[in-house]
Each structure stands twice: as C-alpha cells, then as structure tokens.
Symmetry: C2
DNA sequence: TAGATTGTTAATCGATTAACAATC
DNA sequence: TAGATTGTTAATCGATTAACAATC
C-alpha cells in the first residue's frame, strides 16, 4: 500500500500518462479489464515494459486475469497528481498562449486555468476563454490572494527569463516553459521545457536517418558524404 | 569526414538542437569560440556530456582552445538536416494549428509552411499567415503537385488516425502529431508525438515529488500515505 | 614549455527486455 | 486442475559521468 512514489523512474512517469489516456478511452468503451499485452500493442511497447511500469503502482493486477481498468486509472491519477486539482495561470497571451488556454484535456486532468496575464496593453482586458487578461504587473498581487500552483509560460524568448524569476519569487511551484530559453530548475521551482521547434528538428532528423536525404525531392543533394555510409 | 550520422544516440540528437539554439545566440553576441564547460553551464549539463555529444559531429574542436562557434553551428545543422529546407503542411487550423503556423523559429530552421488544410467549411478560404486554408479533400492533389516533406497534424483526436493514414499514402515522410492519439511509425512514415497535456502532467508529477503534496495549499490532503515514505 | 581544453576511455548508472515462477 | 497472465528476476542494452591522455 505504501506507494514508493519518489522511486518511479522518469521514463516510466511519461508512459504512465500515456497509459492513463489509453485506459480512459477503454473505460469509455465499456471494458472493465485490460491485459498488459493489449496495452502494449496499442502503444507500441513491449508487454514486459507495461507490466514493469504498472508494477510501480503497487500490486494492481490479478495474475491470470489482467488489470481492472478503474483501479489502474485511479492509481495512475494518484501517482501523477491528477487526482487533485491544480490552479494554473497563463503568462503570455499570444497565439500559442491562446491556443493552450483552449486546450481540451487540461481541464479533465484537473488543471484549472485561473488567470491569464500579458504585458501588452492591447491585450490586457481582452478575453481568453472565460478569463479576462490581466496586466502582468498584477501577477504578484494575484499570487498573494489566490493559490497558484503552476504557470504556463508562453511569452517571447527575450522576456522569458525575467518573467520566470518573478514567477519563482511569487511562490509558484512549477513552470511549463514554451519559450526557447533555458529556465533553470531548482528546489524551489520545477521547470518542464517544451520546445516546439526542437520537436520538428527531431522529426526531421529521424526522417533523414530513415529515408536518407535523396528521398527528399530536389533538396540540396549531398549523397556523397551522407547516404553511402549508412549500413 | 565521414559523418556517422546513423549512429547518433537519440538523447544526443535532442541535445544537439539545444546546443544549436544556444550557439546561434552566442554567434549573434559576437563570440567566435566556446568551451564545453561554458555550454554545459548554460544548459545545465556536465561538460563531459557536451564534449561527448559534440564528438558525434566528428573532430570539430581544438584541444586547448575550444570550439569555433560557426563550425559547430554548421556541423549541427548538417547532422540535424536543418541546413536543407523542408516543405511542411499544416493539417488542422484550430487554435493550436494557427498558433503553430505563426511560430517564429520554424522558418529560420528551414521549415517552410507551404499549405494549410482543414475540413471545416467555415475555415476553408480563411487566411492563416500568408496562406489560404484549403479543403482537406485537396490534400492528395496538393501532395501530387508539390513536394511535401512533413506534416504538422493538429486535428481533434477523433480525426487524427484517419488523416494520418491519408498523409501516409500521400507520400509524406514525417508527421509531427499534436493529437493525443498514438499514430504508429513505420519505415514509410516517421511520427514525432507532442502531447501538451502529458507535459503538464510531467510537471505536476515532479512538483509533487519535490515539494510533497502538503505544500499545495488546501488541496485534498493525503499525507498519511504519500508524504511520509519519501526519504 | 606551461596552461588549457578537447576527445576518448572505462566505470557507473538507469532503462529495456526476455524469461519464468507465482498465482489467479 | 489446466490455462492464462501477472510480478519479478537477471541479462542486456544504452546513456551519463569522471578521469586523463592527447594535443593545441
């Protein structure tokens, strides 16, 4: 029953969130049980990996039978912290910020957007979803009067560091950082970086790696020192 | 001179993109050289890791001196495939799609948005940046007449799989998938998933792990089976 | 040459996998 | 009991790190 939460490997944590997503879908489809092999197939993993990951939740399956979907869902939610609700603020109401605020799925995971801030006077006062954008200057005051757990940082790169340190001193526990800038994590504040350009680069790399470059039409061709050595 | 491109570990690939970002900043600031220790400090890594990563580019540094910034930039761009240009289409022009289309930084990495598609008649014909949104039905025709390398998939979850298989048969090499659904990668098509809800969950988890739950104000308290076992 | 920093080795650490005993 | 599937072990694989020889 003692959940060894602090021992869960980070690779497992990421997959637990994927399992959760899949399990909730299964739940809606009416099945009460799953087998590790079935989850594995759906997610492109090995069944032994699924079992190993799920064993981090404790003894949650039944040998010879499988796992009860509901049990898994609540166990994973408990471990990930999504059985609680999190108050989240949005800082930076540009294209990306606006998109994130409307992102379905945050809400059902327990993340509640409680305020949105921007420093642009043209944006202050406008609506983002049900919220009115506040001036960034009001950030600290807001954080004093309301509990704020997390911040989504979606400001331009050049503003990110300054805003991040303000967030830090206002007592927020974590930042989801979309700015292409390294915000240092420390014991007071946890930072989870998301770099969209980097994801596109990763994709481009794996395409080059698999298909070679020649595949890509009239793109600058340098087959002589790139394609041939691939074995 | 032979670049062992296919041997680069995936963890290194991700960091190479980070180095590139940092190096381009350094380049703008006028420095011609960097040391591994300096890059390491900026990115929160160990210097030995930086050197090991960069050694995947070949012999690119000078002992006793450091690395020439320009050399690194072009070597990394070459390896990542961003010294070429990539034709990218956007499928799904919702909030997220619109935000991504305006994302500064894609362009300077060589990713050119050449078309945008949506199945919603209300969106078809509207502008997204300089592009006019096309009907999703025109996808295949477009792919036949123009070279398309990559697709950004930003449609709702329930539409994602169907659109993905159309993309696949239209000969596109890679998909950056923002839909919370698993799209299988195979040798014909590479898929890079980006799950924004998952990133927020990861953040929540590491906050719980570091601070414990009690830190979070009046949130449902279950210290008895969660906080105490943390050593 | 003396000082500095890379490139690389060997050791450590962590994550994945196959296999199978435990048990429903 | 027979069949099935978990939970867990041990082996493998990959990534990180410290240390240092090579060399600018």
């Amino acid at each position: 029953m003692a959940k060894p939460r602090s021992e869960i490997p980070s690779a497992t944590v990421s997959r637990l969130a994927l399992y959760l997503r899949e399990l909730q879908q299964i739940e809606r489809s009416g099945s009460a049980n799953v087998r590790s092999g079935w989850l594995a197939e759906r997610l492109g993993l090995k069944d032994s990996q699924v079992r190993r990951d799920l064993s981090c939740l404790g003894q949650v399956g039944q040998r010879g039978v499988g796992y009860r979907v509901q049990d898994l869902v609540s166990a994973i939610q408990n471990v990930l912290g999504t059985d609680r609700s999190w108050n989240v603020i949005l800082v930076g109401v540009g294209n990306l910020g606006r998109a994130l605020s409307g992102y379905r799925g945050f809400d059902q995971l327990g993340f509640r957007l409680v305020a949105a801030f921007d420093s642009d006077p043209n944006k202050v006062g406008t609506k983002v979803g049900a919220l009115q954008v506040q001036d960034l200057d009001h950030l600290e005051r807001f954080a004093q009067t309301q509990r704020v757990d997390l911040a989504i940082l979606a400001v331009p790169a050049n503003a990110a560091s300054a805003v991040a340190s303000r967030l830090q001193s206002s007592g927020i526990a974590g930042i989801l950082n979309f700015a292409p800038v390294v915000i240092p994590s420390n014991s007071a504040i946890t930072v989870q970086p998301v770099d969209l350009a980097l994801e596109l680069q990763r994709l481009a790399f794996s395409v080059v790696q698999r298909h070679g470059i020649a595949h890509l039409g009239e793109i600058a061709i340098r087959t002589e020192d790139s394609l041939e050595e691939v074995d």
